[in-house]
C-alpha cells in the first residue's frame, strides 16, 4: 500500500515538476532539456498583454477577496444571531454558491447582468444631464462580483466554523467584568476569529486568481491571466507558458501554505 501511496504522490507532483523544469529550458523543444536559462521568464514579463492580464488578475483577486472577507465575516457573525430556520435557508444558499458549477454561475450571471444593463443604461441616460452618460458594462465589476459570490460563501463557512468553536467562557467572563459588547468583540472575539478571516481572504484570493470559467463568461472586454493563458495554450504550447505557469503555481502554493498556517494557529484543542 505504501508503494501505491508513493506512486499517487508522484502522479500528483511529477507533471507540475516537469512544467517547472522546462520553464528553465534553454531550448524551444519540450522533449529535450538543453540547458538552464531564465530567458522565458524575461520573455513572459516583457510581453505587454501578459503583464496587463496579470495586473487585471491581481486587482480583481484583491478586490473580490477583500469584499468577500468583509461581507463573509459579517454574515458569519450575523448568522449566529438569527433563528434556526432562517439560518438553514442561508446555509443552503451559501452551499449552493459553492457547489453550483462555475459554468452555470458564469452563464447565469452573464444573462442576468446583460438584461439588467439593458434596463438600467437607458434609464441612466435619460437622467444624465450631458451627452455622455455612464454606461454599465461587463468588466472588472462583474468579475469581482461573480468571484465574490463563491468567495463570500467560503469565508462565511470558514469563519462560521471558527465561531462555533469559540471559547464562550472568555466572552462571558469579559461581559461579567463589565466590558462593553464592543470591547468584548474587539479583544476576545476578533482575535480568535482573525486567523479564519485571514485564511478565508487568502483562499478567496487564490480562487479568484486561478478561476477561468466564470471570468470567461463575465469578463466582457477585459482579460484576466487565466483567460490569456487559455487563449495562448490554444494557439500552441510554448516555453513562455511554462514560465507563467511556474510563477502562478508558486504564488498559489505560497498562498495556500499561508492560509493553512493561519488556520492552524490558535486552533482550540478538541
Amino acid at each position: 500500500m505504501r508503494a501505491f501511496v508513493v506512486a499517487v504522490f508522484a502522479f500528483l507532483y511529477l507533471p507540475i515538476a516537469l512544467v517547472v523544469l522546462f520553464s528553465f529550458n534553454a531550448g524551444h523543444h519540450a522533449s529535450e532539456f538543453t540547458g538552464f536559462s531564465v530567458q522565458w521568464y524575461g520573455k513572459a514579463l516583457s510581453n505587454p498583454f501578459l503583464v496587463e492580464a496579470l495586473k487585471n488578475s491581481l486587482f480583481i483577486a484583491t478586490a473580490s477577496a477583500l469584499l468577500a472577507a468583509l461581507c463573509g465575516t459579517a454574515a458569519a457573525l450575523g448568522l449566529q444571531r438569527i433563528g434556526a430556520r432562517t439560518r438553514a435557508l442561508f446555509d443552503a444558499l451559501l452551499g449552493a454558491a459553492i457547489v453550483v458549477p462555475g459554468v452555470v454561475i458564469g452563464i447565469s450571471t452573464l444573462v442576468a447582468l446583460v438584461q439588467l444593463f439593458a434596463v438600467v443604461n437607458p434609464f441612466l441616460a435619460s437622467l444624465w444631464p450631458s451627452d455622455q452618460p455612464p454606461r454599465l458594462a461587463l468588466g472588472y465589476g462583474s468579475i469581482i462580483a461573480a468571484h465574490g459570490l463563491f468567495s463570500m460563501a467560503l469565508v462565511t463557512m470558514i469563519v462560521g466554523t471558527r465561531l462555533g468553536s469559540l471559547d464562550r467562557n472568555l466572552v462571558e467572563a469579559s461581559s461579567d467584568l463589565y466590558a462593553t459588547p464592543l470591547t468584548t468583540f474587539r479583544s476576545i472575539v476578533l482575535p480568535q476569529i482573525m486567523p479564519a478571516v485571514t485564511a478565508g481572504f487568502l483562499l478567496a484570493f487564490t480562487f479568484s486568481f486561478d478561476d477561468f470559467i466564470i471570468a470567461f463568461f463575465v469578463a466582457g472586454a477585459q482579460t484576466t491571466l487565466p483567460i490569456y493563458v487559455f487563449a495562448s495554450i490554444r494557439r500552441g504550447v510554448t516555453p513562455e507558458i511554462n514560465a507563467i505557469a511556474t510563477i502562478v503555481l508558486a504564488a498559489s502554493v505560497l498562498l495556500v501554505l499561508l492560509a493553512q498556517w493561519q488556520l492552524g494557529r490558535r486552533k482550540p484543542s478538541p
Binding site: S31, C71, G83, V248, L249
Partner: protein, 314 residues
C-alpha cells in the same frame, strides 16, 4: 465545507427570529430593536450578494429557458418548452458527460481510497499533516495550469515522442476519452481523498480490535467495519466530484481537443459563439437539475448508512 450546521447551539434552536434563551454570547445587550438592526446590518451585504448574483441569475436563466432565440441571437420572450424538446440536439455532449463524469468520479474513488486509508490509519503520526497538506495544495492551485501540464506530457512532444525512440510510432494519447479521464483523476483526486480521510480518521479504532477479537478475518473487518463506516465520506467525495465534473469545461477542452466535449463545451458554444441563449439556458437548467438529483441521492444513501458528516475542504 464546514461543520457550521452541526453545532448544537441552544440560542438558535427555537426556530423563531429572536432567540428565546440567553443571548448569543457576544451580542449587543441593547434593546430588541437595536439587536435586530445590527443583525440585519451584518447580514445585509451577504444577502444582497446571494440574491443579486445567485438567486436572480438563476431565475433569469429559468425564464430564458422557456423563451425563444431572437433572429439576431439572444433572447425573445415566449412561453414554450421547445428548448427542452430540443435537448437531444446536444445528445453527444450529454452522453459524454453522463458517461465520463461517473466514470471519472469512480476512477478517482479507486485511487483515492487507499491513499485516504493509508493517511488516516497507517501513516506515522508526524508525517500525517505534512502528507495531508501535500494532498490539499494541488487542489487550490490552478486547474488550468495543472491540466496544461498533462497537455504537455501527452502531447506530440511528450510521451509519444519518447515512445518513438523505442520504436512505438503513431501513438495518439491526447484528444482521447482516456486522456480526459486521466485529467479528471488528476484534477479531482484531492477533493475525493479529503472527505474519505475525514470519515476514516474519525473511525473508532476499538471497533477494529473488537472485530478482530471476535474472530473476523482482516478482510471481513475491512468490509464490515472500515468500509461501511467510511461510506458517508465516500458518498460526499463521490457526489462532490461528480457534480463538479458535470460542469467541467477545461479538462475536456484541453485534453479532449474537439473530440471529447462535455455539456460545459456546449454551454460555452451556445452562449459565447452561436448566441442561442434560450437553448443554452435550458441546458444549464437541466444540468442544475441533474446535479440536484445526484446530491439528493447521495445524501439519502449517506444518511441511511449512518449520520451525515460534512468535511473540511481546506
Amino acid at each position: 465545507m464546514s461543520e457550521t450546521g452541526h453545532n448544537p447551539d441552544p440560542d438558535n434552536s427555537t426556530g423563531g427570529e429572536i432567540p428565546a434563551g440567553p443571548e448569543p454570547a457576544f451580542s449587543m445587550r441593547g434593546n430588541l430593536l437595536h439587536r435586530n438592526l445590527l443583525t440585519a446590518l451584518l447580514l445585509a451585504p451577504a444577502t444582497m450578494w446571494l440574491v443579486v448574483f445567485l438567486v436572480l441569475p438563476f431565475v433569469a436563466i429559468a425564464i430564458f429557458s422557456v423563451g425563444e432565440r431572437a433572429p439576431e441571437g439572444g433572447y425573445q420572450a415566449a412561453l414554450t418548452f421547445a428548448q427542452y424538446a430540443n435537448l437531444p440536439a446536444r445528445a453527444t455532449a450529454f452522453w459524454n458527460t453522463m458517461v465520463l463524469a461517473p466514470a471519472g468520479a469512480l476512477a478517482c474513488l479507486l485511487v483515492a481510497y487507499p491513499v485516504a486509508y493509508y493517511l488516516a490509519l497507517r501513516a506515522p503520526q508526524r508525517w500525517r499533516l505534512i502528507l495531508l497538506a501535500l494532498i490539499v495544495i494541488p487542489f487550490w492551485t490552478s486547474l488550468l495550469m495543472r491540466t496544461y501540464a498533462w497537455m504537455y506530457i501527452l502531447g506530440g512532444r511528450g510521451i509519444p515522442a519518447l515512445l518513438a525512440y523505442v520504436g512505438i510510432e503513431d501513438l495518439r494519447l491526447i484528444n482521447t476519452p482516456g486522456a480526459v479521464l486521466l485529467g479528471i483523476v488528476y484534477g479531482y483526486l484531492p477533493l475525493m481523498i479529503l472527505p474519505i480521510y475525514v470519515s476514516l480518521e474519525r473511525l473508532d479504532r476499538r471497533l477494529l480490535e473488537a472485530s478482530a477479537d471476535l474472530g473476523a478475518t482482516p478482510l471481513s473487518t475491512f468490509i464490515g467495519v472500515t468500509l461501511r463506516l467510511s461510506l458517508p465520506g465516500v458518498m460526499t467525495g463521490f457526489s462532490l466530484v461528480m457534480i463538479l465534473l458535470l460542469g467541467e469545461y477545461l479538462i475536456p477542452t484541453l485534453l479532449g481537443g474537439g473530440k471529447v466535449f462535455f455539456i460545459g463545451n456546449a454551454l460555452v458554444d451556445l452562449f459565447l459563439q452561436s448566441r442561442n441563449w434560450p437553448f443554452g439556458s435550458a441546458i444549464a437548467i437541466t444540468l442544475v437539475l441533474v446535479s440536484v438529483v445526484v446530491l439528493i441521492v447521495a445524501n439519502r444513501i449517506s444518511t441511511r448508512l449512518s449520520g451525515a458528516r460534512r468535511v473540511d475542504l481546506i
